[in-house]
């Protein structure tokens, strides 16, 4: 279907645009297949304002006789208003936006049309493959190998073609173990801890079902993980009650008797609808213009968002603690293994691994643990907090991750190589992007739809020299140590940079950040060099 079919009125003159931080301006509004373009009448100084239609979460129209007002609520939480002369134009524009912003066909989305001059489609899509990642970690080559068992996505449709597994387990065993795990997501390596030689694995739930089925191969696989050591931990991101209930629907958990040496710990992390509703309530609370502190605090509490942050960080802390302090390997899973498991495993890696705290390392972590590992971005991020559409699979798990990372960075402002603007950029891109990175639900889908050939990779774009500078933390000082976050509630804060980014207050913070940045860059280099030169 052509985009033009959706566009009944392409151009409207004398539209007034109201958006945060700017005076209302009059200009021409233009609807294209993927964008709203608003250009100022004078058109001399200001660049036209460009809004990706995909970014629009909800649209409210108030037509009147001679004109109409459209309120656009965006997925990046920005709220815009367009005053359009002419009722018909207003309705046409609104309906174009409605239909174009909710297109579902992946290959029609903007990343397939976006061709920035600084990137080439011939470049490698993504930062690194499983094989490359494996090749870099020489220390695991003895005990672990790359398995191509999923090369045609037949073993697990949501896994990447290559995964890292214990050396002693052959592909045949993996295939059998995969049948015993939901979605075929058998336990795979996600982090190897050099000092203790222990690992973090992740998987989906075992399909033991009501009659407590067993799978010899799955047991063997886990046995091979803790080979020699007497103990391993399974961190189940469901409550034990939920895990019990899962048996009724064919899921389940690893029973003590079948998995010798593995100890199960339950930590209930919310996901899905609960999480989405939490986000909706939080955003609603942040938009509340009433001036009562009590009302604000009770709304903030009622959203439970900070509780989710607390639980996620504390579970990740627990995983890191098992690995680092107690020297035992850990398997993390919930039910599908595509949401909370990823959240916990990636946070634990940030706590433990200094390499994942650099800018490139963090993006690499996101690529491995989220993009390749099959977090269903398209389903989870179809809508954000403003949408009135009935919820299906939406859940802001990735936003929760970013918030937790922000909390970590707040507590260890020198330990992270990247800065808050990067997290904000990611929070925006995950919902609506020029790049193909967050399209689709799995690696397989990305291959089928040609995302890897016909779109550009966000991570690569972020690592270009000039972008890199913008997203680096000026105060970064690498530390090899684990960074243990405090999870006491007074240590956790509302992420103003994201949830209140469109208030005036955010401007002051951004300015202050710039000042610090300048200060540091002034202080850092030239003088040191001068001293050296003169000294020499």
């Amino acid at each position: 279907m052509e985009f033009s079919e959706h566009i009944k009125t392409a151009n409207v003159e004398d539209v007034v645009l109201r958006r945060p931080f700017y005076q209302p301006t009059k200009g021409t509004l233009c609807v294209t297949g993927h964008h709203l373009i608003f250009s100022n009448r004078g058109g001399d100084s200001a660049r036209p304002f460009l809004l990706l239609l995909r970014n629009i979460d909800a649209i409210e129209k108030r037509p009147s006789v001679s004109s109409g007002t459209i309120t656009l609520k965006c997925k990046d939480l920005c709220v815009l208003q367009l005053d359009i002369p002419g009722m018909e134009e207003c309705l046409n524009i609104a309906s174009s936006i409605e239909s174009l912003s909710s297109l579902e066909t992946v290959s029609e989305m903007y990343p397939f049309f976006y061709r920035p001059p600084f990137l080439s489609l011939q470049d490698q899509w993504g930062l690194s493959s499983t094989e490359q990642h494996y090749a870099q970690m020489k220390e695991i080559h003895d005990g672990w190998r790359v398995s191509q068992v999923n090369r045609d996505y037949s073993v697990s449709p949501s896994y990447p073609p290559a995964v890292i597994v214990p050396h002693s387990i052959d592909d045949e065993t993996l295939v059998k173990a995969a049948r015993f795990r939901q979605g075929g997501r058998f336990p795979v390596l996600c982090y190897y801890h050099r000092e203790t030689g222990t690992v973090i694995m992740r998987s989906s739930q075992p399909l033991s079902g009501a009659n407590r089925k067993r799978c010899r191969e799955d047991e063997l696989l886990l046995q091979a993980v803790i080979d020699g050591s007497e103990l391993g931990y399974i961190i189940d991101t469901r409550s034990s009650q939920q895990a019990q209930q899962a048996r009724m629907t064919g899921g389940g958990f690893e029973s003590k008797s079948c998995y010798r040496g593995w100890k199960r710990l339950h930590r209930q992390l919310e996901k899905g609808k609960v999480l989405q509703e939490s986000l909706i309530k939080l955003v609603e609370a942040c938009g509340d213009q009433s001036h009562s502190v009590d009302r604000w605090l009770s709304k903030l509490e009622n959203s439970k968002w900070l509780s989710h942050v607390q639980t996620a960080l504390s579970t990740a802390g627990l995983v890191a603690e098992c690995v680092e302090r107690d020297g035992h390997s850990v398997l993390v899973h919930g039910s599908e293994g595509t949401d909370t498991s990823l959240l916990v495993s990636s946070l634990a890696q940030l706590i433990l691994d200094p390499d994942s705290r650099t800018l490139a390392g963090f993006l690499g972590l996101l690529e491995r643990e989220w993009v390749q590992a099959g977090h269903p971005f398209q389903q989870r991020c179809a809508h954000s907090a403003y949408s009135h559409v009935r919820l299906r699979h939406e859940a802001p798990v990735f936003v929760l991750l970013l918030d937790c990372v922000w909390q970590l960075a707040r507590q260890f402002p020198l330990a992270m190589g990247f800065s808050e603007p990067l997290l904000l950029r990611l929070a925006k891109e995950v919902y609506a992007s020029d790049y193909g990175t967050f399209l689709c639900n799995s690696d397989q889908e990305r291959c089928v739809t040609g995302v890897k050939e016909r779109t550009h990779c966000l991570f690569q774009s972020l690592l270009r020299a000039n972008e890199r500078q913008h997203y680096s933390n000026p105060l970064y000082e690498r530390t090899e140590l684990a960074i243990w976050p405090s999870i006491q509630p007074p240590s956790l804060q509302l992420w103003k940079g994201l949830f209140l980014q469109w208030t005036d207050d955010a401007l002051h913070l951004v300015e202050a950040q710039k000042v610090i940045q300048n200060l540091v860059s002034q202080c850092h280099r030239p003088l040191n060099e001068k001293v050296e030169n003169t000294d020499g």
Partner: protein
């Protein structure tokens, strides 16, 4: 090192009593961690010295000034010993377990005796001697000059004059000697008005907004009862109104809730009747009284002090304590005052009941919003000196400096500092000082170490001859002001935003963790941007000096200095600015830094960055600061029971822990 000040106590007092108890354990209030050591009790401090410190680390020491101790509680005997819980006014809570009950009782009873000074002469300020001669001390007291401050505002001028009616404190003994009133307010009017005002606190000028010639005046409530009126008082307000040609009327801001003000009428006090006063606009702004504030903060501390708090309980507790609501009420009132003065150009008269609590809060906060000068380090001191010290905020009573009526104690000044902090958070570039200054001032309001904040009013201070017998806090703070600089401060901000317009949305009012949990290190960010940037700046300054020196030397040899060629970043040679002497402020200076600095001082040798890693391997634990194994067990999981008894790791000291990375 940072504590050396405290050693300078004159020796004749130190030996008066010195109780000592060994084998004392100090418990962390948020985890199961404990430290064992020895407890010393001197005339001025309670000192805990850690005993089993690792060889590489200096023993941790905690010094608690007796004046900081708000309460001591002896709990019932346990198998481990006798627990002693000490709550401090700077929000430190320590929990000791003393092995011998007799020792515990000795300490307990000595402390009880010590922490209730009955006369001012017993306070630390009178024995504290920072090795200054009399001349230095005198100069210290002259640093802040209120006469000069009123001149800076443009007073006296054609409408406002200095009056000498209170030269001998005859009209009002809680006001300062020098007062500024409208030119048309004659002495009989002043005297008459003062008789109609509670405690004689008649309307006087506290801030003059030169741009619009609008005045902020303050006073106490009128003794109007249900119907009384006073012509002199009415003319006084008339005079204030006439002194401002911009506005036909003067706002009267009663900072109390209407109900409270009405209740006061029954006691012969009350508020201005708009019918009697021509040209006034009367308004209540509803800040609660000192008793409400006291219990609100009490509730807040209970909430944040509870162990294993969930996020929900925390937020609900925050709400039910009402503290942030009260803080917002004060800020709202200041904004209201600021708008009236700067936008409408109207003069405002602010009062509450006695005009020394809420009035001081609102006037000073309003001035802070209106005048960029007060947002500088020196200016902020002037502001406190003017609106709090000289106008008679009862520091002695409110901060419980002497054994007195517990109902008089209230965190009014703390709340003011909290409001200022909220503003610094909203405008990170507008303030020259960082929160460290606020914390340090708060520390010393209770420490009674300096004379400025002692006693209830200027008259008392003169009687005590504080300027001759004690030292000035301002001089001390100014001497190390580089520590209190906000690195994000832009002096240019004052020109673009002379008047601050804070947002009053409730999400901008936050719990001030660094104040109320300042001694609970495990709660704090483990690395500080503030400290790091200050270090960088200091580093930079020293490098600049080195450059100059080297260039000068090259010149001596007749070589022109080379031009700057960009090179790979050079690392090493770290220097650290001197830290403030407060406990919270000293903490970010880690043990390792101290060692580094010492090394640098000794041999001025450049330190390789790589060394850090090897050096810290000697330390006991591979964690980042303060989060020891036991503590984490507490925070993240129930591992303990699942894998049985495992040897407890050596405990990382919390006090020094914050910035230390052990490896």
């Amino acid at each position: 090192m940072a504590l050396h000040v405290y050693f300078c106590v004159s020796p004749c007092i130190v030996f008066v009593h010195h109780v000592r108890s060994e084998q004392v354990r100090m418990l962390d209030r948020f985890s199961n961690k404990s430290t064992s050591g020895t407890l010393h009790l001197t005339a001025t401090h309670l000192i805990f010295v850690e005993s089993n410190a690792a060889v590489t680390t200096a023993a941790q020491e905690i010094w608690i000034l007796h004046h900081h101790i708000a309460s001591v509680e002896k709990l019932s005997l346990t198998t481990n010993g006798c627990p002693l819980v000490i709550q401090c006014r700077n929000f430190r809570v320590v929990h000791f377990v003393v092995q011998k009950e007799r020792d515990c009782h000795d300490i307990y009873s000595s402390l009880l005796r010590l922490l209730r000074p009955v006369s001012y002469e017993e306070l630390y300020a009178f024995s504290y001697n920072p090795k200054q001669n009399d001349q230095q001390r005198e100069e210290g007291w002259q640093l802040i000059d209120l006469g000069a401050e009123f001149e800076r505002m443009g007073v006296p001028c054609d409408q406002w004059q200095l009056t000498d009616v209170n030269r001998d404190y005859k009209i009002c003994d809680t006001y300062p000697r020098d007062l500024y009133v409208p030119i048309t307010a004659s002495k009989p009017i002043i005297v008459g008005s003062s008789k109609f005002r509670s405690k004689g606190r008649f309307p006087v000028l506290t801030y003059f907004y030169q741009e619009k010639k609008a005045a902020v005046c303050r006073c106490s409530q009128p003794l109007s009862g249900f119907s009384a009126r006073c012509l002199e008082d009415e003319s006084m307000l008339q005079a204030i109104s006439k002194a401002n040609h911009n506005s036909r009327f003067v706002y009267v801001m009663d900072t109390r809730p209407k109900l409270n003000a009405m209740a006061n009428r029954a006691a012969g006090k009350g508020y201005e009747n708009e019918d009697n006063y021509s040209n006034i606009r009367f308004q209540f702004v509803g800040i609660e009284n000192i008793h409400v504030m006291r219990s609100s903060l009490q509730k807040l501390l209970e909430v944040v002090g509870s162990r294993s708090l969930s996020a929900s309980d925390y937020l609900l507790g925050l709400e039910s304590s009402g503290w942030l609501r009260h803080v917002k009420a004060v800020v709202d009132a200041a904004i209201c005052l600021t708008k009236a003065v700067t936008v409408e150009g109207a003069s405002v008269l602010v009062h509450c009941s006695d005009g020394w609590d809420r009035t001081a809060q609102v006037c000073s906060l309003g001035a802070l919003l209106m005048d960029p000068y007060y947002r500088t380090i020196k200016g902020f001191m002037v502001l406190i000196e003017k609106d709090w010290i000289s106008f008679g905020h009862k520091f002695a009573d409110r901060c419980d400096q002497l054994d007195g009526d517990p109902k008089e104690v209230s965190p009014v000044f703390t709340q003011f500092l909290d409001c200022v902090w909220q503003l610094t958070e909203q405008f990170p570039q507008a303030f020259e000082f960082s929160e460290w200054l606020l914390l340090q001032i708060h520390e010393h309001v209770h420490s009674c170490q300096y004379g400025n904040l002692l006693a209830n009013n200027q008259r008392q201070r003169e009687e005590l001859q504080l300027k001759d017998r004690t030292h000035s806090l301002w001089a001390f703070l100014l001497s190390e002001q580089q520590n209190y600089v906000n690195p994000a401060y832009c002096p240019g901000h004052a020109e673009t935003h002379p008047v601050l317009e804070p947002s009053t949305l409730p999400c901008h009012f936050k719990f001030w963790r660094n104040m109320y949990l300042q001694f609970d290190r495990s709660m704090h960010p483990r690395q500080s941007i503030l400290k790091n940037v200050l270090t960088l700046k200091e580093n930079n300054r020293q490098l600049e000096d080195t450059v100059k020196e080297l260039e000068a030397r090259l010149k001596e040899h007749g070589i022109s200095p080379p031009t700057l060629v960009p090179q790979a970043p050079y690392r090493g040679h770290r220097c650290f600015p001197t830290r403030p002497h407060s406990l919270i402020l000293v903490a970010p200076l880690s043990q390792k830094e101290a060692q580094q600095r010492q090394e640098e001082e000794e041999e001025e040798e450049e330190e390789e960055v790589g060394e850090e890693a090897t050096e810290c391997c000697i330390d006991t634990e591979r964690t980042v600061e303060g989060s020891s194994g036991t503590e984490r067990k507490e925070s993240y999981g129930d591992l303990q029971e699942t894998y049985g008894a495992k040897a407890e790791p050596a405990v990382v000291s919390l006090e020094f822990g914050v910035a230390r990375m052990t490896c």
